[in-house]
Symmetry: C2
Subunit: 391 residues, 2 copies
Amino acid sequence: MSISFQIDATQNAARLGRLATPHGVVETPVFMPVGTVASVKGVSQDILEELGAQILLGNTYHLYLRPGVEQVRQLGGLHRFMSWPRAILTDSGGFQVFSLNELRKVTEAGVTFRSHLDGSSHFFTPESSMEAQIGLGADVIMAFDECTEHPADRERVQQSMEMTLRWAARSKEYFKAHKREVPWARTAEVCPAGHVGTSVPGQTQGLFGIVQGGMDPALRKESAERTIEIGFAGYAIGGLSVGEPRALTREVVEFTLEHLPSDKPRYLMGVGTPEEIVEYAGLGVDMMDCVLPTRAARHGLLFTSEGRVSIKQKRYAGDQEPLDPKCGCRVCQRYSRAYLRHLYAANEVLAQVLNSIHNLSFYLDTMRAVRHSIALGNKAQFFPTEHSRAR
Amino acid sequence: MSISFQIDATQNAARLGRLATPHGVVETPVFMPVGTVASVKGVSQDILEELGAQILLGNTYHLYLRPGVEQVRQLGGLHRFMSWPRAILTDSGGFQVFSLNELRKVTEAGVTFRSHLDGSSHFFTPESSMEAQIGLGADVIMAFDECTEHPADRERVQQSMEMTLRWAARSKEYFKAHKREVPWARTAEVCPAGHVGTSVPGQTQGLFGIVQGGMDPALRKESAERTIEIGFAGYAIGGLSVGEPRALTREVVEFTLEHLPSDKPRYLMGVGTPEEIVEYAGLGVDMMDCVLPTRAARHGLLFTSEGRVSIKQKRYAGDQEPLDPKCGCRVCQRYSRAYLRHLYAANEVLAQVLNSIHNLSFYLDTMRAVRHSIALGNKAQFFPTEHSRAR
């Protein structure tokens, strides 16, 4: 078996589910912290465990360049390499390559791109993306897609969608033929200190398809239906957060979700703010990821139950209160706003560490509360207006 | 009372002691991690506690510039500001100002210097250094001294030493008149989350004198004797690690220690490597501090029971072993050399965090073992040659 998904409760469109993976069960709706190159920037794995992170996202493009897929594969896969015993999802590299703009060239065969690190030339295809993701050994891996730029005319969006569908079929075909090559499928694995649990031999990864189709309802519908026809363990909504207004993002998510099967996990890629992840969970999204909590932390922007706090502001220099009085994270339990403000102003690396821990805690607590609420059948409380109030 | 010191055991010149401070007892010989601006770079306070750090060093010069003494004083002093319940020592600012070279001007009254941050002009005197250190509220504070440059001729060294003696007397006088102004002397203090224990009202800081005298045995002797005459709670050996050869450092330490009272703590400022701190503890030094463990960590240089490891080397890219198989720190218990090498190569901030934790653990474990050894009466094992073997 690979992964399986079951729904335990629903509340309107929202679903409380369990995604069983070779590295543990993930309760959904879930927020996945982004660990670009096998590290959630500034936060150690034991703290991620303490925060209750159930699944991390790794970026295939970055890991492919450094330390390299073969290196990670030889070391037993990502879990063992980074000593993370819980679930991992990798993207296909398509979105990252898309972001390179001038450094890439797309053909039917695949994408030629130049490394942002050293300018060296590389070629990604659906097959090589699968090969890389199998070698990295995440629990959930993604079909190789083209993220259509925005704005784009209908013809361009349709052509791009068609190619993504052909790439999806090629991704699935390669995966079917090679899925037994995942590093942990063959042997029980234990990291040096025993932190990574054993995997049951014979288990494989779960492959998700990605729905494209730009901002066009008909194309989104077609993309969804034809992706489902190919058949995947779960379905992602791609091609969003590419510069379109937020209201449009929501609209596209809403009409795309209508065409996704209710018995499979639905993954909305690359969102969002704390309010957005609550909103999308309410619409029936099961999985989300975003760099926002860690990236905002590096810029001193902190999410709290009382709204956003820009900790760099001088007004916090003498503020003895915890960052978020309602937060139980180790940062709010120990340090004052004055100290956090000082660390940021003094450009201390501990600022990034503590800010990231708190923001991730806020995101993970938020999703935990959403799940609790769906279980209780009371989703309404998770559309607070407070969050959006800037301080 | 301020601080007190008692010796529990000796082994040749080495002493096992206990320095009682208003924020807990410090077992000596002790290594003090450096928390320049109220943060040991990259390492959070709970981890420092876990590592067994008993006392941290803060830099008055840096704290004076940012966040400012008055700010820290209003927030209850350094302990409360940074949520560190254990002991703290601050330097006088003299050495840091000395390091500014072109940005300073020394007169009998004090030192005019320009901030390395914004070029603004400031004036430090023995009195203002005491005022700053009382405001910051460390448990142990240092007299304001001039760190004599090296090399310097005898006349220059003598003149500098004489001025340091006059500054020591002025420091003590100011301290005597103002020691009750320490922020925690007046009230019981508890940080927001209760991490900082109460201080007994009426307690004061301990003021240490600093012996100068360059590399000249006679001047060191004279400096020691006249500093002792002024009378301090402990004595530091300053003016070393200023570019002189290591053998000379050791020689100066050895003949200076002969002239320091055996019933007071002896603090050797700014050393050293793991081998050196063991060696100096063997000579009878009770307290040491150095940025080396954290600075080296940032450059990927790691201290282990098997010697130094330059983790950036490609040879570690596939090395599944823990960094130091004999180390019990959370880094060695969880991560492989391959992962640490990757984090460093990928310029991930977690590299600095984990490397710093391990190096501090190695230093603190080393001193713990030294203390254990003195207690057992077997010091010899702490002069290993292994440490100096580069890998």
